[in-house]
């Protein structure tokens, strides 16, 4: 029996297959703009919020539609 915190022993003849590429210390999340309040991040977030607002507005204003 194993659980999720136990790494099972490999069969003696097994050979691990590894994903292709070199390991990196900088993750996808870390490579992005490190300044939390940067204009870039704000611009990104603003468009997401505009999208959400437009979706909400469309939902509210579609009650008179009959298809």
């Amino acid at each position: 029996m194993t659980n999720e915190t136990t790494t099972p022993a490999l069969p003696p003849s097994a050979r691990v297959v590894r994903a292709y590429g070199q390991t990196s210390q900088v993750s996808l999340a870390q490579e992005y703009d490190p300044t939390p309040e940067s204009g870039r991040r704000q611009q990104f977030q603003a468009e997401l919020e505009r999208l959400a607002d437009a979706e909400r507005e469309e939902i509210i204003s579609s009650s008179e539609i009959l298809l």
């Binding site: 590894r18 994903a19 292709y20 590429g21 070199q22 390991t23 990196s24 210390q25 900088v26 993750s27 996808l28 999340a29 870390q30 490579e31 992005y32 703009d33 870039r40 991040r41 990104f44 977030q45 468009e47 997401l48 999208l51 959400a52 437009a54 979706e55 507005e57 469309e58 939902i59 579609s62 009650s63 008179e64 539609i65 009959l66 298809l67």
Partner: protein, 510 residues
Amino acid sequence: LDVLSYSGWSPSDIDLGFVLPLNTGGDGWAELRDYYLPAAPGLAREEQPGALAFDRVLEVAKLGKARSAFVEWRYIDIDFRSEHSFFYSTTFRRYPSVCHRIHFFTEPLEDDLGNLGDIADSYLGYSVIRPLPTSPVGRTVLAPPPHLESAILTTVEDHVHLNGIPLTAHGVPFVSQDGQYLRCSHSCLWSASYHSHLRRRSPRHLPRDVREAALGGEVVGRQTPHEGLSVAQLLSALHNLGFSGGRVPLPRSKEASAQSKTTSLPSTFARYANSGIPTVVFNQFHSWLVVGYYFSDPAVPGHDTTCLIVHDDVQGPYLESLGREDYLNPWHVVGDERRQWRAAIPALPSKVYITAERAEWLGRERLTFVSEKLGSEGSVNCCTSIPGGQLRFRTYVTTGAQFKETVAGRLPDELASFYRTVHLPRYVWVVEAIDEALAIQGEPCVVGEALIDATAHHLAGADSPALLARNVGGNAKATSLDHRQTLEVVVNDLSPYPSGLPGPVCPHLE
């Protein structure tokens, strides 16, 4: 033809139907039209119920250079049987429960169908004709007109049999509404569902299933005969039919559309058409499907030159938006509150939680950021060498497995191996960075891509784990989700490579 006459609609059990020569000098097209929908005295053709869709079906077959048709009598159509069982069998007036089916071929068909097997390759598709005098066009899968061959279309393959001969139709499923049991939204839902069934082997839903699926949400009128669906019912139906129906509001003016960073009207439909997904669009009183697009000016592929291809259950299949003077041209009805295009509802697979607009916004932000960063560090590659602001993006959803299949052959071995060993979900959004100048010339033009987890949080931030992998001109990176392990590959001198989608990046009419 008296549709409702028992012997008229099914005149014989031993006569299977009839062959009709077309485009051969005779007047076969008019004969076929008049057989089902002769001119109504005192009514213009466009005012005659059911005529527009029926005439368009014939026109599409004619444009496809059909040279013969076989009208198959006594065809048992599972979709009409559903309508018949739950509605037409309940009326005092008797309706036949069997249909006709018209098959179109680009080669002449012998009178005894003796050469059917020989001309199977010339099959253009079929149209089921229902015994409903005012709305005859039932399930239809017909090849698009040849001039649209180079457009992006959400085409699927449908296999049928005629006298034991297998035939294959390539097209986008279409059905017209009957105004009683099925309304326009039902038609859209049925078409989207049948499309999904053929493309992704999702369950087959019949008209009754579609109607039942639409009983959730806000019911705003009588349901039988049907007075129309609310948007809430439409969305509920999509959910119940196994779709994830995201609602994308559309800009209210052409200028707002052109300036929008994420929801320009043509781009919205193009993203889903690229993905092979038909999109429901509605105004205040009607809905229809956008099933493809092309650019009317190949030298200037963009907002104003995008021509959308639509299936309108009233007017027929494969209609082109540009130049029209009705509600199917989004720019013709700007400012007209009733007819203006309100929102798009793509029939996304159930496990696509994040919409194309959000996925593209996320992907383009990362690709742009990394490209600028690499450029500022002196790295020159096919992506960073494109001046800031001139990168274009092309977005589509595909399966992780399909994406991995397509990297072989179009990407260098190192990059292909990298992508093929990355863990990917069932569906991923692919945001491709495009060198537009190359795209216009029809050359390989992809200089990078971002892969977005389609099941990611739909409000994912710019540095969220929704981004699974990215490649910027040969500089590729992926971070795993469980152990947060990052792998990278750097391929120097990467040349622009083909898109992961078949067909042209800038589709235009040949």
